[in-house]
Homo-oligomer: 219 residues x 2
Amino acid sequence: MDSVTALYWARDSHRVCGVLSFEYGARHNAREIPFAAEHAARLGFEHRVVNLGFIGELFRSSLLNGGDAVPDGHYEDETMRQTVVPFRNAIMLSVACGWAESLSAEGVIIAAHGGDHAIYPDCREEFMGAMGEAMRAGTYAHISLIRPFIALDKGKIAAEGARLGVDFSRTWSCYKGGAVHCGTCGTCVERREAFLLAGVTDPTVYANLGPLPPRPGSR
Amino acid sequence: MDSVTALYWARDSHRVCGVLSFEYGARHNAREIPFAAEHAARLGFEHRVVNLGFIGELFRSSLLNGGDAVPDGHYEDETMRQTVVPFRNAIMLSVACGWAESLSAEGVIIAAHGGDHAIYPDCREEFMGAMGEAMRAGTYAHISLIRPFIALDKGKIAAEGARLGVDFSRTWSCYKGGAVHCGTCGTCVERREAFLLAGVTDPTVYANLGPLPPRPGSR
């Protein structure tokens, strides 16, 4: 929901040169990528899928096919650490930056947001600042790393998406990648919270709509 | 010759967890990767090859199969710019850093050196500094970017390799990736210069051993 909202935001505020998805052996890739393709086609943008199959061969993570089961619970829990794919954001941003340079684009937009997860080092501000500098210094065009949602939490992104007319029923979050959203994994819990916080009707079909777990900080 | 020398250097100064090669659709990959595998096997290290096939699909460069012809001449010439693969070093370092984190390693060694090419933005100090910071900040283990040869020129690397017992006849530089080194492309010129400067016998078979072109600065 973050990335699709960022795409609609970009349509209004930039000249979009292309839309990039990554297939990296995660359970939910087969769910999220067709939605990305659908939105790109609807907006008339080129959409490419980059195969990072080596991630599944080299790295271990419960996010990946063949890994351990995806844990339930709140995203901020320490258990979510097993869903880390090492340095994933750097790999994706590097590829996107190279493509941007090839397309003569001026920047790469990522939907990183203020609620992003301190358990993932490659979501932290310190990483993003250095990576943005590496992108600027390492390209002829001085490619910018653009993070329009960095001051927003996920609830605000849901509100922004609703304002931009995003059909959230055509987006995917669940890390388990089943037929419908599970409703209980960290990213489903976060998705449900976001719609609640935004006061936006949640169009998602969940397998399990039990009570949301408390945020760890509020225990 | 730089990377293989760095491997022998690492054997003496670090606990080596693994050796990584990248297949990215460059003409010379089929030449250089078997040599990397040979040296890793000789030293008893795990060697993995990462397929970055998407680079050939997304990016254009004369370095890649299907691109324009590799230009002859000195590496510092502006014509060499067409051999740039956009943000290649960032992509490779990001993957290596993720693998390092997976292996519980403490650092990634790259044979970047002081003679590296200002025509390539992702070889410049400003990029390398920022990328090293991104690697440190973006990993649990605070992975280091280690550049043992950064104060050396390529001649010094040839001397260091000779000291470490590297069999340079089992290394590959030529960007054209033919049956033997061409002797005239930018990286062949640089290789020939390095052995000359080091006073080390060059065991390489070149197709063309004509006079070395002058360095652009000395014209």
